[in-house]
């Protein structure tokens, strides 16, 4: 009776090989998968802001157009975060006593700006410009989602390069008529033919071309 091993070693050996191989592969796969999960992309994270600002209320109830507060969206790279002054344009009249607006009044009188927390961020080496997108018929909702249904603004698109490329390669389906840019509810025609027709028309109208050269975004 001199075998160096006992019979159950056979099972043991095969198991351990399976575990080692599977483990390594699994780890890599998990690592890769992470960036494709909502967590990795930081989607649907409700971010606490210094002021309890509710887009639903302002957009739906008060019918304030996006461009009223995001004044720069048609002219500049960044859409523009409203200044304290802008809040008070209305709130000096209405709700001017509301405790919810205390931070606003504080900021105005001390002159210390409100520090909002960033939700949509592209890396600094990616040069995104709002004005050109808006001018070429890309609606707010396309990237920012139904802000009018968000108590607190959350990210709905990954903002990863591959995601950008989808549209940059084939802009047509994402375009909408100029008057619908800020609309939260506009949808392209149901009927496929009409949809493509409109897309083609808009492509012409806006003179949109697909731009996928690196320097379009990286400089």
């Amino acid at each position: 009776m001199s075998a160096p091993f006992k019979p159950h070693w056979n099972l043991l050996a095969r198991l351990s090989i399976a575990v080692l191989g599977g483990g390594a592969g699994g780890a890599l796969l998990a690592l890769w998968g992470y960036w494709h999960t909502p967590y990795g992309q930081r989607l649907q994270e409700e971010v606490a802001q210094p002021v309890l600002f509710d887009h639903r209320h302002h957009v739906v109830d008060d019918l304030v157009d996006c461009r009223y507060c995001h004044f720069n969206v048609e002219r500049g790279a960044s859409a523009g975060i409203p200044s304290t002054q802008m809040c008070l344009n209305c709130h000096s009249q209405i709700w001017n006593k509301s405790p919810k607006l205390e931070p606003i009044r504080k900021s105005y009188f001390t002159g210390i700006p409100i520090e909002w927390v960033r939700v949509h961020q592209v890396p600094d080496f990616a040069y995104f410009n709002h004005s050109i997108h808006v001018k070429k018929g890309v609606g707010c909702v396309t990237c920012h989602g139904r802000v009018d249904e968000m108590p607190a603004v959350t990210k709905v698109a990954s903002l990863q390069m591959a995601w950008c490329l989808d549209c940059h390669r084939n802009p047509a389906p994402q375009l909408r008529p100029p008057e619908e840019i800020t609309s939260m509810t506009w949808a392209p025609p149901e009927d496929a033919a009409a949809r493509t027709a409109l897309a083609a028309e808009l492509m012409k109208k806006y003179d949109v071309h697909s731009r996928v050269s690196c320097t379009t975004c990286h400089r």
Binding site: S2, P4, N10
Partner: protein, 176 residues
């Protein structure tokens, strides 16, 4: 005892080994195997083994690798994101060749290795044969022969083998 038992014996030389095998086969015992420290010329014929599937495995894997390489390079650089790289945009491109070759070899090689493991049922550190202490010489310098027999015939076969000049004739204990 339905389980067939294995009789194991050491044989002095290759010629003797093959004689013993042939006699046993003549007697209807075909479940034979030899054990030697290095491959024995002709053993395949004596044992009447079928052709090995290993070459087929290698071929399939190899050509898969080549095809994969072509598709990968073409799709990634000329379809999915067709960048203008120094105005060198020929399809098919000679630049595909190195990776076609490498990927083919890589897959073939890995397939052969895994194929062998599968064919051998490896890893298999334990084997009832190892219970026979003298059998350790099988990988060092001795030639061994094993034959599967019905429990009833162990004795007959053993004596047969001794007559054929085999030494160390023993019954392999049942796999615990």
């Amino acid at each position: 005892m339905r389980e067939p038992r294995v009789v194991l014996c050491q044989v002095a030389s290759v010629e003797k080994l093959y004689d013993a095998a042939r006699t046993l086969q003549a007697a209807g015992f075909t479940a034979l195997d030899f054990y030697s420290p290095y491959p024995l010329p002709g053993s395949d014929e004596v044992l009447k083994l079928r052709r090995s599937p290993v070459p087929a495995i290698a071929a399939v894997a190899g050509f898969t690798g080549v095809a994969l390489a072509v598709l990968m390079q073409w799709w990634m650089n000329d379809v999915d994101y067709a960048l203008n790289v120094g105005n060198r945009s020929a399809v098919p491109s000679p630049t595909w060749v190195p990776i076609m070759f490498e990927l083919g070899v890589l897959l073939a090689g890995i397939a052969i290795f895994l194929g062998l493991l599968a064919l051998f049922r490896f890893p298999q550190p334990y084997d009832p044969l190892f219970e026979v202490d003298a059998f350790r010489s099988a990988t060092v310098d001795a030639l061994w022969l094993s034959v599967k027999v019905e429990a009833g015939e162990v004795e007959r076969v053993s004596s047969e083998l001794r007559q054929l000049g085999a030494s160390e004739v023993q019954l392999v204990p049942e796999g615990a």
